[in-house]
Symmetry: C2
Subunit: 356 residues, 2 copies
């Protein structure tokens, strides 16, 4: 039994993996693999439609919000979003909360102007900026709702009158939110939704078609909307597994139910950290992420020992990102609370052993 | 037992599917699925490196030719190629041999000038143009080596002094060729190499970095080369399955061996067509594709009957593309000759039944 705390690609529900493996051999009793199945068939079109509908339903999207499954990951969206939304003389506002925001900034600058309205860089991104003003002429305001590397998370949608764009790669479908408040949401699937190789894009269709530049066919969201996310051969298997995960999420009771479990998992781990004299959280308490929990010991040798110690218990993926060090435990939707219990017990046992 | 003649996504070797299904449950005996496995791990880095090395080896590429596995399909490359190679005032030359060439033309026009040096459009793309001249100032000459929809194929690399770029999506790794003659080759994996969702790009690194425009980070081949095709999270599973298929191809004896089998399969089917008085090939004989064999009956009702008849024999995917009609049997690397024998027998039996 493994306990998979990987930051991404990351844990998927066991039953989804079983269904996916079965479909690699025989998809829908067709005698053919999902990997060798035409994407224009009735069977796969139904998969794509179900995946899109499940997102609409789970996120309670209104009729203006379209759902797309596109090739690539967030790194593609860093350029595709400004390419579609930002004219050369226009300005977008952005909160700089880490590496991923910085990449979004870099790409947006190729297409228009960028106003970094706030940043937590000076404290190695260990908090979410609270004090900022968005210029009236900003075309949109971009946030990274959860910062996988540092373990920070916007607890609320920022109060602002501007159009909102969000990279939700690492907390998509993990908590309730008024998703219709956003004009564009993107998320690489490989955290809460599926395997690497597909991008979820939710876009308010009314904001499209307003830039003057010529957009390459494959980069224009409008073309994908018109073709119901089947403009070209989609990443068939990644969409299929995402659909299975969405079905699983619905069966769990949807976002409301999973949020409750996610809250309980995060509370358990943060409590263990706060009660420990060996482990320390790295992030401002009010900005702590419920998806990625970062903590350190302040002693690399003992940290290595702890990694070793947990490996024997089937705990995988808790090594921290090199820019933070220590540990990062990712508590995505599919991670059962029992895995968190194993980790917190290991932390206590290790600490007691250290003391003894 | 199914006989999968799908045009793409299409048949993969049975043993590859079995290995892929097993890895969805337990990758490399790690206890974790390949779908929930970090891409920066030693294990997956080894997969990516093996895939790249196998392509180098199988295609006998020289040291200047780099191998990349990128998100998306050929539709992304239609714009990415000119974005990287063609400056606004420069001109590329292209042979228009069908829908896919036309798409490449449309996207290239967004970046520079396009000289369509020949076209077979006036005969619904049923042949490969022979008579054309490439202007001296052309930055490169683009061909589509195999035209999936119409069933035509360039039998030789065209004689020219210009830099060559090729879309090899539907005949990559199917026949011997001096691949080093090309400065850039791209191919969506979903025909001869793997599942949908990954693109093979082979590029001569010396041609890069010569355009003046700013290229978005994720679109610049140089960044992918520098990061050994791990610039961002790659489409992990699609790369893994491609690697398995490349291993399989090597075990078959490589491209030379598979070409011999592909030739035999195509000869068998074309012979059945030519010997029949019911079925007619749609393509100029000298340009017939060994990957996609197109043929018609000239009577839609009997065509429907034949599809019905073959379905009972486990034959899948032979319905022709709507722009050609009739039938299209795709004979990709993984299709065994026994499947072609089943099809040709069905054609003869059906014809005899019709006569009786």
């Amino acid at each position: 039994m493994m306990h998979n705390f990987n930051a991404g690609p990351s844990i998927l529900p066991r039953e989804v993996l079983q269904q996916a493996a079965a479909a690699v051999l025989n998809f829908n009793n067709t005698g053919l693999s999902i990997l060798e199945f035409g994407h224009r068939t009735q069977e796969f079109t139904a998969v794509m439609e179900e995946a899109r509908q499940l997102v609409k339903e789970l996120m309670q999207l209104d009729a203006d919000h379209e759902v797309l499954f596109l090739h690539g990951g967030a790194s593609t969206q860093f350029m595709q979003v400004p390419m579609n939304l930002l004219d050369a003389k226009e300005c977008m506002a952005i909160a700089d909360t880490g590496v991923w925001s910085s990449k979004a900034i870099k790409e947006a600058k190729l297409f228009g102007k960028v106003d970094i309205v706030c940043s937590s860089k000076e404290k190695n991104y260990t908090y979410i900026p609270k004090d900022f003003a968005i210029p009236n002429d900003a075309k949109y305001f971009h946030i990274t709702t959860n910062n996988t590397i540092y373990g920070t998370q916007w607890q609320q949608i920022p109060q602002c009158s501007s159009s909102l764009v969000a990279d939700m790669s690492s907390d998509i479908l993990s908590r309730q939110m008024d998703f219709n408040r956003f004009d564009l949401i993107y998320a690489g699937a490989q955290k809460n939704m599926g395997p690497a190789g597909v991008n979820l894009v939710v876009v308010n269709k009314n904001i499209l078609g307003k830039v003057k530049r010529a957009i390459p066919t494959i980069m224009d969201y409008r073309n994908h909307i018109a073709e119901k996310s089947m403009l070209n051969t989609p990443p068939v298997f990644a969409v299929y597994v995402s659909m299975l995960t969405l079905r699983w999420l619905k069966a769990q009771g949807g976002i409301k139910a999973i949020e409750k479990i996610n809250n309980a998992k995060a509370a358990l781990l943060y409590q263990a950290i706060d009660e420990s004299s060996l482990f320390t959280g790295t992030v401002a308490k009010e900005d702590r992420s419920k998806m990625n929990v970062c903590f350190v010991m302040g002693n690399e040798n003992i940290e290595k020992e702890f990694i070793q110690y947990t490996r024997a218990l089937g705990i995988a993926g808790i090594k921290g990102h090199r820019s933070v060090g220590g540990f990062r435990a990712s508590l995505y939707n599919a991670l059962p609370i029992s895995s968190v219990e194993v980790l917190t017990r290991a932390m206590r046992d290790f600490e007691n052993g250290q003391r003894a």
